[in-house]
């Protein structure tokens, strides 16, 4: 219980820190956000127009502490400010629109990648030295060594542009706007395949090799040899004795990966013009859309922290030593 409380306190403190840094950072950027804002439209706007825009965008000259209080209040009440790029659309609306795409694409792909990598890792570790064990890790490492963006561009060029099997941009076809229909679902699926393969190829080998190496270490442990000598069935030995212990480091990586799901796979989304939060964040940075950047970072920070909290709590179930500070149970 004490462990859980500790974790929760840690979580609250880190959220506060993240929120505060999120407040400070944009204000440390050189230049006035108003000027940066006008850079997009202006050059030649008349002073009247500038004045009108200043009024519209509501740049405030409040003291910094009052701004901070207003900001915290806004966060709690869901008032995260209005995006500059899409003024006067609230940033929450923009983020809310992009997030499902990213969760769908990166989330599902990450899950597939984790399960496939971990599963195959267990398998090839058990049957080490066989064909699969000698080829798969090297092949997957080779693919992963190529940057995401490059893999994405190659796939896009070959399967999208040359063969025309898949669309080269966007999350769905223009003639099937989002709705609960088969046509939209199939269109979204077709648009998601290439980006999904890109992300899968980029992350699969980490899970595979990580699990394989953990397994080999664990399989060498005395208790595994002992269990084998006692005649435990191979399947039970691998899954219940070896894999259960070997999987712990994977779970830590998984927590980090889950956090990253929310930030999206920025490069992949940009290459495929995918309507997710990664591409949106990239655009927001280019457009100096501070409220949107702040909002997106906040969502990412919260997701990472939350994922860590959950895994911390989960860990205490999987590995009792964490709960008890190392004392044997």
């Amino acid at each position: 219980m004490r462990y859980v409380v500790n974790r929760l306190i840690f979580f609250v403190v880190s959220v506060w820190a993240a929120v505060t840094i999120n407040f400070i950072l944009p204000r440390m950027m050189p230049g006035d956000p108003a000027q940066a804002m006008f850079a997009k439209f202006s050059n030649n706007l008349t002073p009247q127009a500038m004045h009108a825009l200043e009024l519209q965008f509501g740049f405030s000259n409040q003291p910094i502490f009052m701004q901070y209080v207003t900001y915290l209040k806004g966060l709690l009440t869901g008032n995260w400010g209005l995006s500059f790029t899409y003024y006067p659309t609230p940033t929450t609306t923009v983020i809310g629109q992009s997030l499902p795409w990213t969760l769908g694409l990166v989330g599902i792909t990450t899950l597939i990648s984790v399960f496939a990598g971990t599963g195959l890792g267990i398998l090839i570790a058990w049957r080490r030295g066989k064909v699969l064990d000698t080829t798969l890790p090297i092949a997957s490492l080779f693919v992963q060594a190529a940057p995401y963006m490059w893999t994405g561009l190659i796939l896009l060029y070959v399967f999208g542009f040359k063969f025309g099997w898949f669309p080269i941009a966007h999350g769905y076809a223009d003639d099937t706007p989002p709705s609960f229909t088969w046509a939209f679902f199939l269109s979204a699926l077709r648009h998601g395949i290439l980006p999904a393969i890109t992300i899968f190829l980029g992350s699969f080998s980490g899970w595979l090799i990580g699990m394989r190496n953990n397994m080999i270490l664990t399989l060498g442990e005395d208790y595994v040899t002992f269990a084998e000598a006692k005649g435990v069935r191979p399947m039970r030995l691998v899954m219940m004795y070896a894999a259960r212990n070997a999987i712990l480091p994977q779970i830590t990586s998984f927590a980090i990966a889950i956090g990253n799901v929310v930030s999206g796979s920025i490069l992949t989304e940009v290459v495929y013009s995918y309507p997710g939060i990664g591409a949106q964040l990239n655009a927001a940075v280019l457009q100096q859309d501070y409220p949107l950047i702040q909002g997106a970072f906040l969502v990412i920070a919260l997701a990472v922290l939350l994922a860590n909290l959950i895994v911390d709590l989960l860990y205490s179930r999987l590995d009792p030593r964490v709960r008890t500070g190392g004392a044997a149970v």
Binding site: Q56, Y87, S98, A169, H170, S273, L286
Partner: protein, 557 residues
């Protein structure tokens, strides 16, 4: 984002703001006869969907607020859905009557009476009346945040006279300012009276008077359908489509492949990359504004006319146009008058005032004649012992201007003037210009339907873009004379006076005319504005002009 595109959009937006009713520029407004409105040209054939890319937008949000058409509203909001009273072309002297029919000055050019086109209807079926116009202007008064042209700095009253007439009363005679009034988007009172603060309203389901009605919307594509009841006649384009593109590259690719009918992209090597791909791929880059080398006239050396003359003589403008600007623009003339406005050039101006020459030797002689001497490192030193060394401010990332700045620095080095190019972030650059903390800067003027709109801001002592601090009673008097008359001939004479000052005093050093990027395909439609038929501002981000272009198109099939 390519700098050219930025400059284009930026100056285009400014042009729109700056541009519209000279009521007089053409002589057509005041008499009440306006040039052919975008109507009438009906055609029986049914065309294909027209795809427009005003600029690469990564994704869309549902914002169709016409008071934000220069900033965050989606393309088409103003021009396709909402309309102004009149629109003045930036590339010709045509004025288009939309919701207005005639505009007449009276009371010493302090009262503007606009007769409305009562055939117009809101797309929900309600009638358009003078009440909507009065309501719109009162809305601008109540919410200064949406009064982007500052119309209430010049107006005292807007009143309806019956259903079809609106009377605008001005504080003082300012004839060219009527353009801003005539070009405000007009919104329906029966809807906008209940939306609260219009600056914070996204207007997701727009109801306008224009040729199109919003149809489908998603964050990566939206379409508009022709308004079957449009008062301007049958709309020749049944549907317009606005797809999202994440980058200039992806948009350029789509444009080159013929997927886009109408674009406003800056494309390098356009002949090879785009025009050669199909005989239907056409482009036209009409001049839009003046790009100047601004000297800070409070600088003791740059305030000397002879120094400015020498600098101007030593700059190779052909290199700027052909190397820095890819050959897409024309070099400026000392009069500052755009080639599209050539009627405004004083016919009696001496030839030397109409064309710049490039002659470094003569520039050196000028300086030597004024007592400047070269020091041991080959740099001129003023009679008071100050070396001629200046910082030149440009925006970093606007690659064409950055290249221009390098060319200027090399040219002036040959003359014996040291120029240190300072690439600045836009915000810093803008702040430096506005606070006059610069020595030399490359800066562009605004645009507009006639030279007054382009030059007044830059050269009038109170001008909003008078960064160089030119303060000259004769210049102010010329603009004042222009503002107080609605007689086109008198306006021209006022501009003639200014042209002579600009050419002979060189308050700023004009370099070249900034271009408007505009590509169009004749595959599905013809009738586009072109160099041979420059009827209206052609860029697809030139709202509301794009609505007028649409009404001039003809399907090819």
């Amino acid at each position: 984002m390519n700098s050219k595109w930025k400059v284009g959009v930026v100056t285009g937006a400014a042009a729109l703001m700056t541009a519209s009713l000279v009521g007089c520029g053409t002589g057509s407004t005041n008499g009440g006869n306006t040039a052919g409105s975008g109507s009438g040209k009906t055609t029986a054939a049914q065309g294909k969907t027209l795809t427009i890319v005003p600029a690469p937008y990564g994704s869309f949000q549902r914002n169709f607020n016409p008071f934000q058409y220069q900033t965050t509203a989606n393309g088409g909001t103003f021009g396709f859905i909402y309309e102004p009273l009149f629109y003045d072309s930036l590339v010709s002297s045509n004025q288009y009557a939309l919701l207005g029919k005639t505009a007449t000055w009276s009371n010493g050019n302090k009262t503007l009476t606009v007769k409305l086109n009562t055939a117009a209807k809101w797309s929900d079926g309600k009638a358009f009346t003078s009440k909507d116009v009065v309501f719109t202007f009162n809305l601008l008064k109540k919410y200064p945040a949406i009064d982007t042209s500052g119309v209430w700095s010049e107006l005292t009253n807007v009143a309806a006279q019956g259903d079809d007439t609106v009377v605008f009363t001005f504080k003082k005679a300012d004839v060219p300012f009527a353009m801003y009034i005539e070009q405000e988007p007009i919104v329906p009172e029966h809807i906008w009276s209940t939306v609260g603060n219009p600056a914070k309203y996204t207007n997701p389901n727009p109801v306008g008077t224009g040729p199109f009605i919003l149809d489908k919307f998603s964050s990566q594509d939206y379409t508009m359908k022709a308004n079957p009841d449009y008062y301007g006649g049958k709309v020749p384009v049944p549907e317009v489509n606005f797809p999202a593109y994440n980058s200039n590259d992806s948009a350029n690719l789509a444009v080159a492949q013929g997927e886009v009918d109408w674009a406003g992209q800056f494309i390098q090597n356009i002949d090879k990359v785009y025009a050669s791909k199909s005989p239907n791929n056409k482009y036209w880059f009409p001049p839009n504004n003046v790009v100047n080398l601004l000297p800070n006239l409070k600088d003791p050396i740059l305030s000397q006319k002879v120094v400015r003359e020498a600098l101007s003589l030593a700059i190779n403008r052909d290199d700027l146009a052909n190397k820095g600007e890819y050959g897409y623009v024309q070099v400026a003339s000392p009069t500052t008058i755009l080639p599209t406005n050539k009627d405004w050039i004083d016919p009696n101006l001496p030839a030397a005032d109409k064309k710049f020459t490039y002659n470094t030797a003569q520039a050196e002689k000028l300086l030597e004649g004024a007592g400047y001497k070269k020091n041991s490192s080959g740099i001129f030193v003023s009679p008071s012992g100050q070396p001629l060394s200046f910082n030149l401010a440009v925006v970093s990332g606007w690659t064409d201007w950055d290249a221009d700045a390098q060319i200027i620095a090399q040219n002036l080095k040959q003359l014996g003037v040291q120029v240190n190019v300072q690439q600045m972030q836009y915000a810093g650059y803008e702040a430096a210009l506005q606070s006059h903390k610069f020595q030399l800067a490359i800066a562009s003027s605004g645009g507009g339907p006639n030279p007054y709109y382009i030059d007044e801001n830059v050269y009038a002592s109170h001008g909003s873009m008078n960064y160089e601090q030119w303060d000259d009673p004769a210049t102010d008097a010329a603009f004042q004379a222009f503002e107080s008359t609605s007689d086109p001939q008198k306006q021209k004479e006022a501009m003639y006076k200014f042209e002579k000052i600009a050419a002979e005093q060189l308050p700023a050093i004009p370099l070249f005319y900034g271009g408007t990027w505009y590509e169009y395909s004749t595959k599905n439609y013809t009738g586009w504005p072109s160099a041979d038929n420059p009827y209206v501002s052609p860029a697809p981000w030139s709202w509301p002009a794009a609505g007028i272009v649409i009404m001039h198109l003809k399907p090819t099939n």
